[in-house]
């Protein structure tokens, strides 16, 4: 990475941190909302299940919820960011100042996901305290787990970039983003292994579905499943496909917005 981009990376880390520190209440309440939402799901599910949920199901619920939260951060990092920048009037300024906008957006996603990772850790810890169940990963599972998380979230970021691209031209994509956020609920909380292999094959290409399945397989089995790394390879291909498609569509939409003169519209 050239020093120019390292400067951009530093600038984005500091901007994100400074903004967050100026409004800590916003982050705190955001986290609290996610915590209460989980509490509602957890206690609701327990009530329906007759007063208790199995340890396995609780762990699945927590893993799914944390991944879903992380996915929302990734999705918003790309789509909401572009929409907000246009609304506050800084989008064109960033276009003029930066050597190129797309890499800036990827850097921003990296920054938001770094901070988001710590938020997810905090959320995960508070969920474990709430449920009284502790996620027991083996030391050997940490690296494979991280690989699955990183690849899944990178795939979602590519999807977020597609939304960001649309927001350059269509401007308001908040509702579409909400639909995608809630549709991510399905892979996050359902048992996809019960689907027919053909459907499973299709669904698993959707960003983060395969990642969730891999994380669950880590929790369920004593040792690393035999097909784990080959599945990771498939996940990598899916992620690259989403990242590349997202980037290409973004460049096309950027061109279209410049042609329509609508870059700064909101």
């Amino acid at each position: 990475m050239s020093t120019r981009w390292l400067k951009v990376l530093r600038a984005e880390y500091l901007r994100e941190l400074r903004t967050a520190l100026r409004y800590p209440m916003e982050i705190g309440t955001g986290l609290l909302v996610m915590f209460l939402f989980f509490a509602g799901i957890f206690f609701g599910a327990r009530q329906i299940a007759g007063g208790s949920i199995s340890t396995e199901n609780t762990e699945m619920l927590m893993i799914g919820y944390c991944m879903w939260f992380f996915a929302i951060i990734a999705l918003n990092a790309m789509s909401v960011d572009v929409e907000n920048e246009a609304r506050q009037g800084t989008l064109e300024q960033v276009f003029i100042c930066a050597p190129a906008f797309l890499p800036v957006l990827w850097i921003r996603a990296l920054v938001k996901l770094t901070y988001g990772f710590f938020t997810v850790l905090l959320l995960g810890l508070s969920l474990q305290l709430l449920t009284g169940r502790w996620l027991a990963f083996q030391a050997a599972d940490i690296l494979p787990g991280i690989v699955a998380i990183v690849l899944s979230i990178a795939g979602i970021t590519g999807l977020g970039l597609l939304l960001g691209a649309l927001s350059l031209v269509l401007k308001r994509v908040g509702q579409l983003s909400s639909i995608i956020q809630f549709s991510l609920f399905i892979p996050a909380f359902s048992d996809l292994s019960k689907l027919s292999p053909a459907v499973q094959g299709w669904v698993s290409h959707f960003p983060f579905t395969r990642g969730i399945m891999l994380l669950r397989s880590l929790l369920e089995s004593e040792s690393l499943p035999e097909s784990y790394w080959s599945q990771c390879g498939m996940l990598l291909l899916d992620t690259l496909a989403f990242a590349i498609i997202g980037s290409l569509v973004f460049l096309a939409m950027e061109r279209l917005a410049k042609r329509d003169g609508s870059l700064a519209h909101y």
Binding site: R4, R15, T19, Q88, I96
Partner: protein
């Protein structure tokens, strides 16, 4: 002097792309314009004349349908600074210094070079004691000044300002005008300003281009425009009794009585066919021994020129 910006046959039509709405608007229509280096050039025009589209095409934010923008003085795309959305160009949640640090690094300025540059600019724009204040707590004028400071980071070669003094109070507007003149004088910067505030353009620009319906209707130095639109109007003020005395003899002149604030005084504006016609008038007044308390020739203001041009009463080349 080298050309900073050369615009050849630039056109832009905005087209709505909805199936039920395919209206289009011609914003810029075969624009030809040469902007010299090292001065402030004013792009004037009414709302919808195509000023902002033109400046955004220069900045590369809007793609032209036809024509090209080149920068002969640099033989490459110059380092740009721009204020296109006024005070909205800032991150309102960040402080003055945090905005500077962010945009400075985004432009690739090293932090050790950025600090002295920022200190100088903050001092120059009177924001030195506001560096830790969040941008949203600054007054509109200060936010506007900060937007200009941010545009100046990284020492741009070409500064694009879209309505830089719009909505500012007189004092803030005058300060920004003074600072822009100072930047051109001391740093040799080229500035392109769009505005429909004629007094601002007259105060800071050496040359202006008046846009009408996407084209340049008239382009010249302000001095040449004033000469071009010169009229021989003279304002004379005298005591009321003296005026009554010569009133009958003045009837052969084309003149009007102006509203006069001073009691016992009368102000008259004479419209002469040329400057030689003023001598017989002076001789007449001298014959009556009329004491003049004011005698001045009125120059056309840029605003008057602008109205004439945009009303179509006098087109370029006429």
């Amino acid at each position: 002097m080298a050309l900073a910006v050369q615009i050849e046959g630039l056109s832009k039509r905005y087209q709505r792309r909805l199936p039920w709405d395919s209206q289009s608007t011609l914003a810029v229509d075969g624009l030809e314009l040469n902007i010299p280096q090292g001065e402030i050039f004013g792009l004037l025009g009414s709302n919808g004349a195509g000023k902002t589209t033109t400046i955004k095409m220069i900045a590369g934010l809007v793609m032209p349908d036809a024509g090209r923008v080149s920068f002969p003085a640099w033989q490459r795309r110059p380092q740009l600074g721009a204020v296109l959305e006024g005070s909205r160009n800032l991150y309102w949640r960040l402080s003055v210094w945090e905005n500077i640090a962010y945009f400075g690094e985004l432009k690739g300025v090293y932090m050790n070079a950025l600090r002295p540059q920022a200190d100088e600019l903050l001092e120059m724009f009177g924001l030195a004691d506001k560096r830790d204040r969040p941008a949203q707590t600054l007054s509109r004028g200060m936010q506007q000044k900060l937007a200009v400071v941010l545009a100046l980071l990284g020492e741009p070669e070409l500064l694009l300002l879209d309505e830089p003094t719009l909505g500012l109070d007189v004092s803030s507007s005058l300060t920004i005008q003074r600072l822009l003149r100072q930047l051109v004088r001391e740093r040799g910067l080229t500035i392109i300003v769009t505005t429909h505030q004629m007094e601002v353009a007259q105060a800071i620009c050496r040359r202006v281009g008046i846009m009408k319906a996407g084209r340049i209707a008239l382009e010249d130095s302000i001095d040449s425009l004033v000469d071009l639109f010169q009229r021989w109007d003279y304002v004379l003020r005298m005591d009321e009794p003296a005026y009554r005395m010569v009133q009958r003899d003045l009837q052969e002149y084309e003149y009007e009585e102006l509203e006069e604030q001073r009691p016992g005084q009368v102000s008259l504006r004479f419209r002469m066919p040329d400057n030689l016609a003023v001598y017989p008038l002076m001789e007449l007044l001298a014959a009556y021994r009329v004491q003049l308390t004011q005698f001045s020739q009125e120059q056309p203001t840029l605003e008057e020129i602008f109205v004439k041009v945009t009303d179509g009463s006098r087109e370029a080349g006429e």
